[in-house]
Point group: C2
């Protein structure tokens, strides 16, 4: 595709590969925990590139980086894009990073084509999306949306024992701008899908319409520690046996619901976890996701009831605590339509889809029209060093992003 202005596939790729050298791991991935030394190097690199591209770089009080390409009308709210540069401990080269560097590529391409926009364009790097080194995850976008206080972020303690405020100061990322004080015309985040759907359906662009709702239940099943050799099978109160039946049943309930339901038990700890002792306790986390709030709630209630029934059958005690409750989010219809029609005009195969993962965009959506563009990633793999995407698909996403941003930035009807 080469609808003008276009983006440079190879420059975008080379920039991604250059960033991938910072915190590089042996199997092709990256480890840049937010505000740790490698993330700071990545942020410094990003800021240099943005300044080289003529952008004005501003930091806010939680270290979010805004690189502004000026518009004709300095009073208009900015048309914004971006994502995050921090990674999981064994993360890939694309999750988050792509969304930031696609924004940079848009700026560079507009410069090359000498396109002047009416509204300014901001490329944003949100602080600590992954939450590996400190909590909360998504801290930068949460603060921008007013969902967490600057003080809370500043006082958060990192894995290295520092506070976030100390790290921001020592890294040179402590800005004076109040997060959220900057008006945004819109925010479009590009991201690898982190799932297998685009690849399976052979589509280049995912037009993200929703982010699913997420509920976590922390389930504690209590039986009785007893001796593996001396306790008859029918006298046992085996917490793991109960948990096993629950895990099987929960998966069944999710599969029987519809194609959008997701249920995962990813965290499980049994006690005392000794080969010759029947486990007296099992604690596990149920991660339940659905784009429809009513179905999400009904699924959760059915799952809780099913677990209670199994506990009762097996003579086990159970307690269930809801620890995360994020409502499903529908993105801006206007932006969704813009992205879809842009992809069509540019000739990229595309489909509407959900995001099953949380993203900074879901927080920004509280304060500005927001949407997301997904591109395929190999085998749907993410949070993994083997995370992979093709230069062509990445360029297609950036190209779509550029024209969607232009549609907003050149429009005279807004503001």
């Amino acid at each position: 595709m080469s609808v003008a202005p276009t983006v440079s596939r190879d420059r975008l790729w080379d920039t991604l590969m250059e960033m991938g050298k910072i915190g590089a791991l042996s199997n092709g991935g990256c480890n840049r925990a937010a505000l740790g030394s490698e993330d700071c190097r990545g942020r410094d690199q990003f800021i240099r590139w943005c300044r080289d591209a003529g952008c004005q770089v501003t930091l806010d009080a939680v270290g979010n980086i805004y690189a502004r390409r000026r518009g004709r009308n300095a009073t208009r709210p900015s048309v914004a894009t971006g994502s995050h540069l921090d990674t999981q401990p064994h993360g890939g080269k694309f999750d988050g990073i792509y969304g930031v560097l696609a924004g940079l590529e848009v700026v560079r391409s507009l410069n090359d084509a000498e396109v002047e926009t009416d509204a300014p364009i901001d490329v944003v790097c949100w602080t600590n999306e992954e939450g590996v080194r400190f909590s909360p995850p998504l801290a930068g976008s949460l603060a921008f949306a007013g969902l967490v206080d600057v003080g809370t972020v500043h006082n958060a303690r990192t894995l290295d024992g520092t506070t976030v405020a100390e790290d921001l100061r020592s890294g040179g990322f402590l800005g004076t701008e109040l997060p959220g004080s900057r008006a945004l015309d819109c925010f479009i985040e590009t991201h690898i899908e982190q799932g297998p759907i685009l690849e399976a359906r052979n589509k280049t662009i995912g037009v993200v319409t929703h982010i699913v709702g997420i509920r976590w239940s922390i389930v504690t099943v209590t039986g009785l520690d007893s001796h593996a050799g001396t306790t008859p099978m029918d006298k046992r109160r085996d917490a793991l046996l109960g948990a096993a039946a629950m895990i099987t049943t929960l998966n069944q309930i999710a599969r029987n619901q519809d194609e959008f339901a997701r249920l995962t038990v990813g965290k499980l700890q049994i006690t005392p976890n000794s080969g010759a002792t029947i486990p007296g306790q099992a604690v596990f986390v149920c991660d339940l996701r659905h784009p429809d709030a009513a179905i999400l709630h009904s699924l959760e209630q059915r799952m809780h009831a099913a677990m209670r029934a199994i506990a009762s059958e097996q003579g086990l005690q159970i307690s269930i605590e809801r620890s995360i409750d994020i409502a499903p989010l529908r993105f801006s219809q206007d932006l969704i339509d813009t992205i879809r029609s842009t992809a069509n005009e540019l000739g990229y195969s595309n489909m509407d889809m959900l995001s099953g993962a949380g993203h900074d965009a879901m927080n920004v959506a509280r304060v500005a029209p927001t949407a997301m563009i997904f591109v395929p990633c190999k085998n749907g793999l993410s949070h993994n060093e083997a995370e992979s995407a093709t230069p062509d698909d990445l360029a297609a996403g950036a190209h779509t992003l550029m024209h969607a941003l232009l549609a907003r930035a050149q429009s005279k009807s807004r503001q």
Copy 2:
């Protein structure tokens, strides 16, 4: 019961309670890890009590303690009893300790009644039955039976970083006698049942006929780490979901076999064990027990096949490694008959039963006629601070032990 000579119920109980003060925990239990400071205090106390009772105390090269009450015929092999004084980290006051102190009570009672036996009687404290602080567990009886070298035990590294040889020397427990060089006429170990059967059937004495065979399989199920939100249910390779189905099926197979089969998954670790990631790996230990070697083998093979079938159905890889293989053991028929007829003569309700747990007796059985006497423990609970047994039941066990030992020690027909 008071068939003469009898034992002192209260003295036995008081001695148990006195020993229970050493390494006492806040919830009524004890922590005396083998050759740690508390275990050394317990061993010193036991030796003082034995010397006060007129015994000659000898140590062997792995720290097994032999307290001998002399017989008329010093050349006869000793009629032996005993167990271990070391405990689990949150152990009770009875597991092991009872078997040692019941032997001491027999000596004291024979002294009181001025009974002279023909054969000497040895009360033995085997070193490190529990294996908490160093390996192998059952070290003392393994060395006695020639199943492990003295050097191997001496070189074993403890949790405190010392070697066992250093601990034996510093504690004053490094004897010169070669383990196993002492001839035993027989060995009878008394022990709390550690299971619920005697209590449920309202019997006082368990005449232990077998120790079950034990096989451990270490099972590694491998799927693929992937994102909980973005991976459709039908595209997952969830190692925990596979393990859950296996755990359920393994339990079913054991229950369907017979009342003697025991299957426990007590140890399980999933990776990466993160709430929002589908687990790519689950490693668990299957502890399988049965008193019949052929059935044990057939059960194991059926379980392995069932797990492979589940892995295949779910698109998971599986590897299964057998890590422990202990053959079932039948105790000495002669001793079994002696214990049963002794219990009957003394008027104690009794039943033949299996031991589902391993004990020092199973090693000693390799080199001398051996059997065990069980007494009830409350709710079958053991390896737990709440471990409990009644003074009456404990005295009944010691009384039965005394008369069974006397039957051997007074017999002129032996040796």
